[in-house]
């Protein structure tokens, strides 16, 4: 809290946010001639206007009015809250129902596949190991340079595409990269 004993506009003893009225002295007695005496007087007889919250927040008379302005009606607030949660619940239920429908369709499709062709069914049920490397890939890796090897190993199917351009506020300086070609990972 900045304390300026003498202010340019003339009123003495202004602390930030608090007007210091020395009730200890009579009306004409406040003088600016001896700042040391005035300092001493200020610390001996501190101001006692109780119109602001205490520094550590033990007494906050301003909270009630601020709250009243922010939330003028409890009923309205609770109604809005309930309506919003209701709305979110509808969306969630719709999303879950759609997901459930898709899952059931998938399950039905797999059941029919099992009846039709058991080999394809087994293939469809196989879990893909993202780090697996086919024989072709292993052969190709042997004749690659280090950076190329790193590129192959780090681009895993199903991971976030590394080449995706991050959206920016302004377009790129170099315009559209017409010469760019996708890196082909050798597959089986």
């Amino acid at each position: 809290m900045s304390v300026s004993v003498l202010k340019l506009n003339g009123s003495p003893f202004q602390l930030r946010g608090l007007v210091t009225r020395l009730y200890s002295t009579r009306k004409g007695e406040v003088s600016t001639s001896d700042p040391q005496k005035d300092n001493i007087r200020r610390y001996l007889y501190p101001p006692n206007i109780r119109n602001k919250a205490t520094p550590t927040g033990t007494w906050r008379p301003d909270v009630a009015r601020a709250l009243q302005r922010a939330i003028p009606s409890v009923q309205a607030h609770e109604t809005i809250q309930r309506a919003w949660l209701l709305h979110q619940r509808h969306i969630r239920k719709k999303r879950d129902a759609e997901l459930q429908r898709k899952f059931n369709c998938m399950r039905q499709a797999m059941q029919e596949l099992e009846e039709i062709d058991s080999r394809l069914f087994r293939e469809a049920n196989k879990q893909e190991d993202p780090r697996a490397r086919s024989l072709v890939e292993v052969e190709a890796l042997k004749s690659m340079s280090e950076p190329e090897k790193r590129a192959v190993e780090s681009r895993v199917r199903g991971l976030f595409p590394r080449e995706l351009r991050i959206p920016t506020d302004t377009p790129p300086k170099n315009g559209w990269p017409h010469e760019w070609r996708a890196f082909q990972r050798p597959l089986a």
Binding site: G17, N51, H77, E78, I80, R82
Partner: protein
């Protein structure tokens, strides 16, 4: 009213805070520092418009109609919220109608599937409540003591308030902390709100010393009462959450009655009233409670520690015929055996309440007028005087 106002639980006797809070805004022109030049310096007059912190007195005795808290257009979110709630309610009401039709058809079927029927009925009850529970007028009415107990929504809201806003928690805290639970019964799970009212303490001096009408006041569970207050049977108020009528047994016991022969404590039966019909629309306070085993007022003996007086309301499966317990046979009552004998299930819900009492000047009157026996006085045995033989004799001969 502050926005932190919640629906006050009726069972709790909260002390009313000061009616108004004077908020003085005295910011003068010299407030703004030279650094905070961004804020406009305004000269405001001293505003002391009070913020009312006390709830308005709205109840069934002083009813008021619900009005919109904010006019149309003041808060667009509120108007939108009302629209959403109304649409949801209409959709649910259509579902309720469809479900009722399905239930009727299931019942008319040649062999109705009981399990499916129960599932449908449960769903119907939930949908009925959900279709109305979001309306601000319904919630406001329940929060202000104007609930209509014949409606499922109001019953649901009152039950939620009793369970979640502290009244049940306070009762269970007192019951467990004062060890009523292992001493009287192994466990208690109340399903209805039981409130006990006893007359206020009468002052012995002044104009009130003469006979005046007793003012019955709510008793907080676990609070201390004077034996003078409990001479007459209490007024018992209940909030029951089931619409159908069920039978309950009222039991009032004192687990701290001294048993001299065994140097321990026994249970004393103060009051017993079986076959009380209770439903959500039954009259409150409960009438005709003293027709079976008459009420004997609490009489904590002189020299004993405080006595815990417990009132239990136990649900019955069917009408019971229980013998009246005579006045001199009240001590040594076994609650667990009684419940087993008459098929009372403590896990089936019910109500409970308790308070405490200590001997005071009003107890001898109870012994003289009602019990008509001598008043016992308990205490330690006098210590044997080791030097009794030598007292009074000459020591130095």
């Amino acid at each position: 009213m502050l926005s932190l106002r919640h629906a006050k639980p009726r069972a709790l006797g909260f002390v009313r805070r000061n009616a108004t809070k004077q908020v003085a805004l005295a910011s003068t022109a010299a407030d703004a520092d030279s650094q905070s030049s961004g804020e406009p310096v305004t000269l405001q007059k001293k505003q002391s418009r009070a913020i009312r912190t006390r709830r308005p007195r709205i109840s069934l005795q002083h009813p008021r109609e619900w009005n919109r808290p904010l006019a149309f257009g003041v808060l667009p979110a509120f108007d939108e919220a009302l629209k959403v709630i109304k649409e949801d309610s209409m959709a649910l009401k259509d579902e309720v109608k469809a479900l009722e039709g399905a239930i009727a058809r299931e019942k008319e079927a040649p062999q109705p599937d009981q399990h499916a029927l129960r599932v449908l009925e449960d769903k119907l009850r939930i949908l009925e409540v959900q279709s109305e529970v979001n309306f601000p007028q319904v919630r406001w009415k329940c929060a202000n003591g104007m609930a209509d107990m014949s409606k499922a929504v109001d019953r649901h809201l009152l039950e939620q308030r009793w369970r979640k806003e502290g009244a049940l928690d306070l009762l269970m805290e007192r019951i467990h902390q004062m060890n009523v639970v292992p001493d009287v019964l192994p466990d208690i799970h109340p399903s209805l709100d039981l409130r006990v009212n006893f007359p206020r303490v009468k002052s012995t001096t002044g104009p009130q010393a003469t006979v005046s009408k007793a003012v019955y006041e709510h008793v907080e569970p676990g609070a201390f009462l004077l034996p003078e207050q409990t001479v007459e049977p209490p007024k018992i108020y209940t909030t029951v959450f089931h619409p159908e009528e069920r039978l309950y047994t009222l039991l009032m016991i004192d687990p701290d009655f001294p048993d001299e022969t065994n140097q321990t404590f026994q249970t004393y039966l103060h009051w017993l009233q079986p076959n009380i019909p209770l439903s959500s629309v039954s009259p409150s306070p409960m009438p005709n409670l003293n027709t079976h085993t008459a009420y004997i007022p609490p009489h904590p003996q002189r020299g004993t520690a405080y006595h815990r007086y417990t009132i239990l309301l136990l649900p019955q499966h069917s009408r019971l015929s229980i013998h009246m317990v005579a006045k001199d046979k009240r001590a040594g009552f076994d609650v667990r055996a009684f419940m087993e004998q008459h098929g009372l299930d403590r896990n089936g819900g019910g109500g409970a309440h308790m308070w405490r009492e200590v001997w005071s000047e009003g107890v001898p009157a109870v012994y003289k007028d009602i019990l008509k026996t001598a008043e016992p006085k308990f205490g330690r045995m006098p210590r044997a005087d080791r030097y009794g033989d030598f007292r009074g004799k000459k020591r130095y001969v």
